[in-house]
């Protein structure tokens, strides 16, 4: 293939691997075991029966969780990956099984979640014939995978899966899909001993770190009067929490987070000044347009974070640290690009940055916090009205869990409340659908999160709308006995859409009024304990009961119907135009 290779490289080729007869299905599961997989989420069907057949013999090594819908399976795998830091694995059959993965793939791609999805496919000789349950899943999933590949011969399986795992977890992580035709699953071949993949010629997971950029970044920071750090999930994905904390504490720079970055620095840390973006905190948004140096770490300047781009931090010099070169200059032009894994680049930067304290500048954040507390937060967390607020539920939960729980949130008003107000002491504690905003994410993701972090308490925060999108996963909870605490914040509306209609569409509440079943009774049908609360006096005891309950518990809390999440940067406005009311 490549003739002029130095002879030293040729000599380094591995010893002859051991061959043993195996079917493609066996090789598939052997690959999973060799990759250290312990949990798989899946749903069987005709085109993947051979793999399921072998799974019967692999029960000891591989814990298979039978979900109730493939979308539930992939969200569960996402939750697993996010809480554990490992690769989530999903099995699905061809056709409808495979297409049910698409939403989860899109979600995982935009949120950089490492997943390996294995789909069954019709026999290779039937490809392209519109065979029963045939769908061109490779082309369907091309825009929503980091990589995908169709296997038509068993001999390809070990290498394809080795590449899949390597690509999913390396560099900027992401979902990959391997589609295996049925003939390849059945076919017997001489399987070599499994070789994990550590390198692909055409794939550079992380760019080479350039010392001159580190030096330039340090010089900017050392000369800054009002530097400001924005951090995202890159810190978590790079396992760079410690390096990040050292950088923040050493430089004394106030730092704010995106909703996927939260937890990398405890929410109570004195230099943690809050959440960015549309429903973020007042100070970080307003002061983005006043800082002189903006240090973005492992975040991608999503439009929910930046608001109107042409009015975003125009006064600032921007330092952007990212492992993915396509993120640099994509939305916000960087003065200094720091390519690389932040686990590697942050310590280099810390070493060149002078220790400082930005007391006066930090005080400005605290002033804004005070304004926000007076205008919004106090009433949200300690309401004077009769009706329960979403914020007070989070406040009570924080008091009981003391920031030790994993919070999995769905999408809507409750998500913004959960992300804004959850107290998180640890990284990998906030699991939510950030980039795609997928309703129905939380229930299955919570199942996965608990399986990925069995020692931690997992609390799912879900709206009455989103819960009904994947409500069937209560069946998965029933069957596996997984322990998740499910909280439904029931405002009897598709609340976030209602808020927009109220604020921007003259209160024309078009199809946002949603009826729900008796959720506690539904849970009871699945043999899951539950309680419904609509009075303040019952809230705290119910939360305590839920957390003390051995096993899953569903708590439905009736909250104010028409409450709005503030502050808010209206769409199309600058972050500095954030509204407190």
């Amino acid at each position: 293939m490549f003739q002029n290779l130095p002879s030293a490289l040729l000599a380094a080729s591995p010893a002859v691997p051991v061959l043993a007869p195996a079917t493609g299905a066996v090789a598939t599961l052997q690959a999973l075991v060799a990759e250290g997989v312990d949990t798989i989420f899946g749903y069987p069907g005709g085109a993947i029966i051979p793999i399921y057949d072998v799974l019967y013999d692999f029960k000891e090594q591989l814990n298979h969780v039978l979900v109730r819908h493939e979308q539930g399976g992939i969200h569960a795998a996402q939750g697993y990956a996010r809480s554990s830091g490992r690769v989530g694995v999903v099995l699905a059959t061809s056709g409808p099984g495979a297409t049910n993965l698409v939403t989860g793939l899109a979600d995982a791609l935009i949120d950089s979640t490492p997943l390996v999805c294995i789909t069954g496919q019709v026999f290779a000789h039937l490809l392209g014939t519109d065979a029963f349950q045939e769908t061109d899943i490779i082309n369907i999933t091309t825009p929503v995978t980091k990589w995908n590949y169709q296997v038509t011969n068993a001999e390809e399986i070990p290498e394809a899966l080795a590449k899949a795992f390597y690509i999913a977890r390396s560099g900027r992580p992401g979902p990959v899909l391997v589609d295996i035709t049925k003939n390849a699953q059945i076919q017997t071949f001489d399987a070599p001993e499994y070789q994990p993949c550590h390198h692909i010629r055409s794939y550079r997971p992380a760019p080479v770190v350039r010392p001159e950029y580190i030096e330039q970044a340090a010089a900017l920071i050392n000369n800054a009067q009002r530097p400001f750090i924005l951090w995202g999930q890159g810190v978590v994905l790079g396992s760079a929490e410690q390096e990040f904390r050292e950088f923040v504490e050493h430089s004394g720079i106030p730092a704010a987070w995106t909703i996927l970055g939260v937890g990398a620095l405890p929410t109570g840390h004195p230099l943690n000044v809050g959440m960015l973006g549309m429903h973020g905190n007042y100070g970080p948004n307003v002061l983005t347009n006043e800082c002189d140096v903006l240090i973005a770490i492992g975040m991608r300047f999503d439009d929910r974070v930046t608001g109107r781009l042409d009015k975003y931090a125009k006064q600032a010099q921007v330092i952007h640290l990212d492992i993915d070169p396509t993120e640099i200059d994509k939305n916000v032009k960087a003065t200094v690009p720091v390519w690389g894994d932040c686990k590697e680049t942050l310590p280099l930067l810390t070493a060149l940055v002078e220790p400082r304290q930005h007391t006066a500048w930090l005080a400005r954040f605290n002033d804004h916090t005070e304004q926000e507390v007076n205008a919004v937060i106090r009433e949200e967390l300690f309401p004077t009205t009769e009706e329960l607020t979403m914020g007070e539920i989070m406040q009570q939960l924080n008091e009981i869990t003391q920031g030790e729980a994993i919070i999995v949130s769905d999408v809507g008003q409750h998500q913004m409340i959960a992300c804004r107000y959850a107290q998180l002491n640890h990284s990998r504690s906030n699991i939510t659908s950030g980039g795609l905003g997928t309703m129905g994410f939380a229930l299955p993701a919570a199942i996965g999160a608990k399986l990925g972090a069995p020692d931690r308490t997992v609390v799912a925060v879900i709206g009455d709308g989103g819960f009904q999108m994947t409500i069937q996963e209560l069946g998965t909870i029933m069957q596996t006995g997984v322990d998740v605490k499910i909280m439904i914040f029931n405002n009897q509306f598709l609340g976030m859409v209602r808020q927009w209609q109220e604020l921007f569409h003259q209160r024309r509440y078009s199809f946002v009024d949603i009826q729900s079943p008796d959720f506690v009774a539904v849970a009871a049908g699945y043999r899951i304990a539950g309680q419904r609360v609509d009075a303040r006096a019952d809230l705290r005891p119910a939360l305590e009961r839920m957390l003390a309950h051995p096993g899953s518990f569903l708590l439905e809390v009736m909250v104010t119907k028409e409450n709005n999440i503030f502050p808010m940067v209206p769409q199309g406005c600058s972050v500095a135009e954030i509204r407190l009311r």
Binding site: N4, H125, Y149, E156, P325, D329
Partner: protein, 201 residues
Amino acid sequence: MSTEPVDRQEYNITAYTENQVGLLNRIAIIFSRRKINIESLNVSPSEIEGIHRFNIVIVETEEVVEKLAKQIEKQVEVLKVYYNTNADVIWQEMALYKVPTDVIAEKVLVERLLRENGARAVVIRKDYTVFETTGHREETDSLIKALQPYGLIEFVRSARIAIIKASDGFHHKLKDFERREPSEEVAENEFLNDREQVFTM
């Protein structure tokens, strides 16, 4: 429709890739997702065995082209992407023209026509003759004009191929990559070549 920004111009994107099923689609959707029209696309083997070379022409601003190039390079099977203005590359397109032989033989000073347009006859049959030219768009266009009055039957032009003036080839770069991070020999999709064997399972 909207007026074009002045800084839009033709850019030649050159991508070196693995020879992989599905990659064309992966690259194409990087453009279609942004509603960018590809003016010309050519894929061919490069000077390195197993490595293919895409030549893609679009009309865009440099800022957009730079982002697109990065997005293409981000794909797992893509080794390297360059982008260049027309001034930075040597480029050619090839055109074929089919005309009725009798008309041409009777009415045209064929020799002169060929000379003036740098063309060459590829096939001469009783019923038709096929001419070929290569060059830039204006050059290949000029023969159309000359042949139209004589009953041009069919015309086709190829995608653009381009060689970057300043590059010393990719071979060198790849060797450098491999020296830093050597890979095992990976045979991509070798099984798709034995379709018979696979498909009769």
